[in-house]
Symmetry: C2
Subunit: 680 residues, 2 copies
């Protein structure tokens, strides 16, 4: 680029040297990509990225996603050079306890890191989600501004490696980005033809550019990662392309210019060794004796990014203040979103249901909750992985989030719409939801069948690790889905999801529990939650007779007290099996056994209660306990104790009507009664 | 096609009518695709598929995979027509308890079903795996035969829907198939532009043919699913193309010719309703009053497939007998593979390790086991999702499974090679492994980091459901991997994998346990197993002092008995934490507390032991128990009981050296001792 001079060249080489030194010091890590991607990363951070290093949370900033998180040094070194607060000692502490420079970038841990990456492909999905969120937020806040002139117009930049693009999740997300015509997204593909098993010819020979063209992307090729002018031109063209996402296929040589290790798998994930580091420094004209050697004029030059950023933000703030005054409602919404604060009184809009033995499916109740909340909470939006009607995730009359030309007979909408259509892409849905949550203050939900939580698990884990307030609407939550059979019937999923640290797994027992569950989920803004909802109708319990559904907020509560007030046995369960416990209680009480029923919709919330409350619900003195849940027993022993019994399923389901399955598999009141008698 | 006449046309329309009737009878299901795919399915089963309906296990048969398992009627009706033993009453029992016609096709349950499908995209991966297995088996049995002339040459046919091709797993598998140049694979893409949310324009607008061309596939388009002549020509061209996999993009109209419901999302997954079924029958010239109406001359005509199949098999058997005589060794191997029998004495080749406090990583021990077994077990093969060196899955000197032109400096080999290179595609790896196991008697393993078992979970579940003997080599199995940090450190994965019914999860504590674990896994041929292996070195226990590693085969055993023979406390653990229990035992014994250590590498195998053995290992009288494992506590309460203590992790890891992490997170002998004192 014209504006670039010798200092910039030296800064780029300094980035390579720092990457080598940092890995060499700790003895492990990934130097190769940080060396070969140094030019494009530097050009982005110093010229193209709209950002203010002194305010990493400036809402108008461009976002940068490093999908190949193993190359964290690519990012750390640019954050250091640009002045985000990372200093040389942080780079020297790479991959050590308590440092700001962990092995993979962690959002919330290091200023300037926009998302936690490492599991490959996730970052591409995050970037697509951020680009979608940017469009939605513009629609909420500033829909009338001409293109490119809004305060909220910005660009999402992402880097991805061979591994990222081999992972199916990135293909899913990229196909969706093509459909969505995300003109605010620019992806740089580091085409270095090397992965851990060396030359990618053994496993990855496709034409990536042609694949992205097939997705509907704008595709450019730059044949030399050292050719800054061409990269610069490609960035310009990508930014100018506002009707399609852009990919730049950038040919680099991993580990360049290491004389003996460039272009090998070895330089991907291992330190170069002292001799090779020295040899490379000589090639670059650096003193091979010195480590972490940064010329003062280089850092002085690169830190001008701070001033530039502050000037950019100052100019923006002037316009922003004017916008705030002219748009008080939107400004108030933005303020709420920025602080993740809900409007006063929103809970009053939650629906409730009268007692009804025939009942309603909790998935349907969930849909009614969403419909009731939509007018109150414009930040709430979501959709499904092609199961809108089954998941009850689409609120009637709401516009779809779609380019105008993608509207269909069934779905109208526009670019600022609210109903998301993820396609049959659960994993990308999870990563896109993460990107949406990372981008800003909207609250997004996404639906699929509970059994397919398996497909999105990689993204769910990252939501939990990043503490993102996204909500999964997992319906068809048991063998109760019936005829679709074992491939579609979750059995092990309750346990498997409860095992994820930081995820709230909530399985309401009736419609009113569903409403309280949604309320509690929305009141939490620092963690993901998954709702497990029934396909089949569940009776709506008579709350004049039973405990209040408010107990859901505590994770577990006494639904039905023993007639004597002093239970001889406690029955407990979740979701559609709570009614079985209630029926068993009737039998036991009729036989003179005082029986309590506890509904335990969310173990994580229950664990947060104090011991007194927990023991009030599950009195330590009552050792006779039975759990009933249509899943593997794993985990229930904590609640039922040594003397308790667990009524569950240790095997897969089958294809038949749900009532037949419950009967054949022994999930019945009779079985619970028998178990209770054993436990007593 | 020339040979097709009116009876064939009528048979195709009969297939549509049966699909409508079957769904209408049970009241739910997926009629639309079975109606529109009836022509291509019929053409395949009656003309192109090499099969013998009277012998569904004929090893030379072509394989057919219905990736869109929800359209199970597409397959069931052809099995009925071709004479696989399915009869009208089976179609009438669709989706009901105990029937041969469950909602989704289940292998082993219905003759002629080659794989269990339903979770979308998996079937594409299975088909790719079958095509790879076919090449490998040809290489093992008949490598010298000219192309197309081997007894073992056959074709893998698969049908896939929009949803299948939206899922990332199919993209991963298809990219791999392109690299592998699988000329024996033909995929028909049912391009009906309708999914559950109706018109796919809202979510799936890519050019699928162009995407597959980018993968290196041979791409054909047929614009009308009713145009049998064009489909026939496309099949011929696809079969003639032996250097690339083929995809036929077949435009169909879902639900055709239903006058009011064709081409809608409604006909995808719901019964048409009596009126529409009748109207459609009228269009087709069927009596609207009749259901399950099959003209005798139609079924007589289609069942000629049985005679044709028997003739084909008879001809093949003649050649096969000659081959057997001329190739006794290969014939013996085939016999072993067909019956999944291991050769006598193979276990003698397993390595063992002397006591060594410094020790060896169990991933390395696993690699040594594989190297020792490779000469004995030609059916054993496998690879990694781009982590060969980390997973220790590639045996030195063995050829890679690669087209000759794909060899690299690092990896030589050929089309019949043994080391698999899956690329960074864990989910496809899982589905491909399933396809390999389904195809025949080879034993395949695949490696990645344990944390990325999340990415492949959809396929792991299906392996367990299908009871396939595939083995996952999951290394880097805890925070013990160190610096790569929380994205790469499994925490919840032990619990999540143990939750899967039918999967054996095995976490050996040292090298000798690793060898017994591999032996036991290979001796089982009816279920998948996952090995969790350490990155870090683990001490090799002194077996002259401790219990024999043979105990691994029982899932759990007494590793170190209390000095008195009567333990006051039992410590237990798995994998790298067993050494912590052993160190804690030393402290406790030194303090006068008789302490037993139990190694519990595989809960599933332990559960299979009789109660006497289990109580011998964990005496019911000893209530003081402590478990130690670097994962979530979930599940351990079953072993430690109400009085026990669980030393584990309830949170994510961090980026630092592994020794630092164990110390900071309290996974230490001191912590176990303290817990033991509490428990006592």
């Amino acid at each position: 680029p014209e504006s670039f001079g010798d200092l910039d060249r030296k800064a780029i080489d300094t980035a390579r040297v720092l990457a080598m030194d940092a890995v060499q010091k700790v003895g492990n890590g990934h130097p190769g990509t940080a060396m070969s991607m140094a030019p494009v990363a530097y050009l982005l951070f110093q010229k193209w990225l709209t950002h203010d290093p002194s305010d990493p949370n400036w809402p108008a900033r461009d976002r940068f996603v490093l999908s190949m998180g193993h190359s964290s040094l690519t990012l750390y070194v640019q954050l250091y050079l640009a002045g985000y607060g990372l200093e040389l000692e942080d780079l020297q502490a790479l991959r050590t306890w308590g440092s700001k420079t962990p092995g993979h970038p962690e959002v919330g841990h290091t200023a300037g890191v926009e998302t936690t990456t490492g599991p490959l492909g996730q970052g591409v999905g995050n970037a697509v989600g951020m680009a979608m969120a940017a469009r939605r937020e513009r629609g909420l806040l500033d829909p009338e501004a001409p293109e490119g002139e809004s305060l909220f117009d910005h660009t999402i930049w992402a880097f991805a490696s061979d591994g990222d693009l081999e992972e199916g999740i990135s293909g899913e997300a990229s196909s969706l980005a093509g459909t969505q015509q995300l003109g605010n997204l620019v992806l740089v593909y580091d085409d270095n033809k090397i992965s851990i098993e060396d030359d990618t010819t053994i496993a990855f020979t496709e034409d990536v550019g042609a694949r992205y063209a097939a997705y509907g992307w704008h595709v450019q090729h730059v044949d030399d990662g050292e050719d800054l002018a061409s990269i610069d031109a490609a960035f310009a063209a990508a930014k100018a392309e506002t009707t399609r996402p852009s990919i730049i296929v950038l040919r680099t040589v991993i580990g360049w210019p290491s004389p003996n290790k460039q272009n090998t798998g070895g330089v991907h994930g291992s330190a170069l060794g002292d001799a090779e580091v020295e040899a490379t420094k000589e090639v670059l004209g650096f003193d091979p004796e010195k480590t972490f050697d940064v010329a003062p004029e280089v850092i002085e030059h690169t830190r001008k990014a701070v001033t530039r950023g502050q000037e950019a933000q100052a100019a923006w703030q002037t316009r922003f203040k004017a916008w705030q005054q002219g748009n008080p409602e939107a400004a108030a919404l933005l303020e709420r979103m920025t602080t993740r604060t809900l409007p006063e009184g929103w809970q009053a809009k939650l629906p409730s249901w009268d007692a009804d033995p025939k009942g309603v499916a909790t998935r349907k109740a969930s849909g009614e909750v969403l419909a009731a909340l939509y007018p109150e909470l414009p930040e709430l939006w979501g959709g499904s992985a092609d199961l809108a009607e089954s998941n009850n995730t689409a609120v009637k009359g709401e516009p779809s989030f779609l380019p105008a030309s993608r509207q269909t007979k069934a779905w109208s909408g526009g670019p600022y719409g609210r109903t998301l259509h993820f396609g049959v892409r659960e994993h990308a849905m999870g990563a896109v939801m993460n990107g949406i949550a990372l981008h800003g203050g909207t609250r997004v939900y996404g639906g699929t069948f509970l059994t397919f939580s398996d497909y999105m698990r990689g993204a769910v884990r990252l939501a939990a690790l990043m503490q993102l307030p996204v909500t999964y609407v997992w319906t068809h939550d048991s063998i109760g889905l019936g005829e679709d059979g074992p491939t579609h019937q979750p059995i092990e999923h309750y346990a498997a999801l409860r095992a994820i640290p930081g995820l709230d797994f909530v399985r309401p027992a009736d419609a009113n529990e569903t409403a309280v569950a949604w309320r509690t989920i929305l009141e939490n803004n620092d963690r993901p939650a998954g709702l497990a909802l029934s396909r089949q109708n569940l009776p709506v319990f008579d709350r004049s007779e039973f405990g209040s559904a408010e107990g859901v907020a505590k994770g577990g509560y006494v639904l039905a007290e023993a007639s004597t007030g002093t239970p001889e046995v406690v029955l407990m369960g979740t979701g559609s099996e709570v009614q079985i416990a209630v029926a068993a209680r009737e039998q036991l009480e009729a036989a003179g056994v005082p029986t309590r029923v506890v509904s335990l919709p969310c173990w994580e919330w229950f664990a947060e209660q104090d011991q007194a409350y927990r023991e009030q619900v599950l009195p330590p003195t009552v050792k006779a306990r039975v759990s009933v849940e249509a899943g593997v027993p794993m985990g229930w022993r904590e609640f039922v104790g040594d003397a308790g019994r667990i009524v569950g399923l240790n095997h897969y389901g089958a294809s038949a009507s749900f009532s037949k399955l419950y009967e054949e598999f022994g999930l019945t009141a009779d079985a619970v009664v028998a178990a209770a008698r054993e436990s007593i």
